[in-house]
Amino acid sequence: MIRAIWAVARTDLTRWRRSPGLVAASLIPALGMSVTVLALTYAVGRQPVALVQEGYGPISQRVVDILRGSDGFVLRERTAEQAARDLKQQWVCAVIRIPKHFDDDVLRGNAHLEVTINNVDLDFSDDIRRSVSEAVVMIDAPDLASLGEESEGGPREPPAAPPIAPDNALPGGINPYRVEVVETDLRRPDVPFLAYQMVPVLALLALTAGALVTALAIAGDRESGRMRVVRLAPVSRSAVVMGHLAGGTIAAMLLLGTIVLIAALLGILRAPPGRWPIVATILLATAVGSTGIGVLVGLVTRRVTTTVLLGVNVASASFLLGGGFTTIAFLPGYIQSVAHWVPSYYAVEGLREALFYAEMPSLGRNLAVLFGSGIVSVIVGAWLFTGPRAFRAAPRSRP
């Protein structure tokens, strides 16, 4: 039986290796997503904003320094006309104006920082509003969001914005907002955005390499009539299904291993001490679970075209419901319930726990579900494989 499993797996692997199309199909979605995540890492969170400085007093200058130091903006200094033009042509999403008599207004206690926002959508408009408020608060209460911040590894570093000189702070350094915030972080330093987003990319890689390619390989066998020949072989149906599962899993693991190794060497992915074996186990389970889906998709469809479309539907749903661009735990309960039926959810959760969290309370459940998906796929796949449906050649009509 093992020889049969290995023979089928080796055939799938050889076909995958010799088919540039299949290799491309495995790699391009994940590579494309990696590039996107990389680009978003540098683009998301920092919005281009024009600064029109009309007042040049010492307080105005300090406000400019605070705005320059803010990690919410990419500041471009412009004249009023240039800023208006930039806003219209979408070079910037907001214009901050420091009025001519800003310093005098501050001393009178009635200064306004004028912010014009291109509020096309709520998400980035609110980002700007928050960042502006933060910058304004920093002027009179620099300690509000920074001083006293602590994390488990010790106090956080002071913010990038330069501090306000005491002569411009309120008498006695009183925080006029009367609220002091002490921040404690669960980990130090922050997890880089790229590392956080790499996890679903790995799940996507498993889905494309394991699920999609395996499904296409099985469907291709049926459409070409090779599956009829396989039926004549003196091996059990389970062995054939397990062979496909093994082939897809090995292919997915090879790709995942390569990507993880590169990411680890580049310092993008860093596991806590002693966690790499667990990460490897979760990746293996992810490959098994994903390939299991592919086996089922390949066996329930009759044409390659249908397999492709079902595979793409399943892969995209698995990726996005698994936490591809989001954190499932933050979504409404009914969506979380749906996500719990998707193996990639357990893969993403397991990998995030293993890489970023001190405890892994869901490790056993995640591994059980992922490996269980593989086992279920073998059982259901063997049953599907036994029926006449599996060997019925696809109609020769066009897609």
Binding site: A25, P29, M33, T36, A43, V44, G45, G72, Q90, V106, G109, A111, H112, V115, T116, I117, N118, N119, V120, D121, L122, D123, D126, R129, R130, S133, E134, D140, A145, L170, N175, P176, Y177, R178, V179, E180, V181, V182, E183, T184, D185, R187, V191, F193, Y196, T208, L212, G220, V304, T305, V308, L309, A315, L320, F325, T326, P332, Y357, R398, P399
Partner: protein
Amino acid sequence: MMAWTRAMLESARGQLVSFIRAPVTAILVLVLPLNLMLLMSLFALTGYNAPTGLVMDEDTPRAREFVQALRDAHNSFALRPMSREAAMEQLRCGRLVAVIEIPRGFDARIASGRRSRVQLTMDNVNLDMAEDVRRAVPAAAAIFAERLDLPKVRIRPTLINLLARDTGYVEYLGVSAVALAAVIAGGILGGTVIAREWETGAARLLLLAPAGAGAALIGRLVAAAGVGVLASGLTATIVVMGYGVPMSHPLEVVAGVVLTVAASTSLGGLVGVLLRRTLPIAPLILGTQLPFYLDSGALEPQRFDGEVLFRLAHLSPAYYGVGVMEHGYHHLVVTPEPVWVLLLVLALAAIVPAIVLGRVARR
């Protein structure tokens, strides 16, 4: 010319008959764009209002006022009142982004002109959300101070919005997903029907066709585009009926859907003729267009993400489709180019690859 048109229409009819005879395929084509749109909406749902545990050690007027300021701090928090133990447990399990604790004596300290210390405990695993929360707490403090009319607050931001109202993130993303639906459905169908001609060997026979191979291939693309328009139209309708987003310019939406599908189908056909195999078409289209979709103004006007990404975005029909859709539904201008230019580019992207396809097919 008449013979060419007849051949093209006959080819399209044959392709449509094939789609009808294979209903599963057709249904999956209809489902795919809907699937993508609904799932992309999940992303929008977590774009703001970070789930935050709220631990109140006292329930006093000023404490409630501070909580209200947190709620009003630019859609930053979805506050969930709970005990400290429960909050910390949920935070450690990754079910909350942060926990805010309002201490006992908060009201009294504020009333007496002293500072009160609010504890913010953060799960800083997702930097994007963590930074939003870090910025939102000072913003809430500013709102709090203004509402209580606390003295000595010297500077206030004056926020001026260019548009009368903000467009909700789900509504914005839902509309842009119509363009994604059009690109994916058109690209996959166009690529598949053309690659199939080579895979089955029919392309050789087409060389003998009196009207030329181009007419037959373009006919296939027309049929594929028809199904793609149906699928995208269904998605566009669900945005109106399900998401409750009315169309500001219905004709623009229709033109946008048709031309985005046409351009994607045509470009997909070109991919199909280059690859000559159906297998890699769908993964390739999905794999390249999903990133391009994120880089198309789907999340915010694309130029805000920098010049490099902005220029790259122009390589995909998604950019032009999103620009037309956002204007068609929300009357939003998210591209520097006017809508007519976007439509013109889509039309050219539909025509030019089809001409190239016809020429390539002769070889």
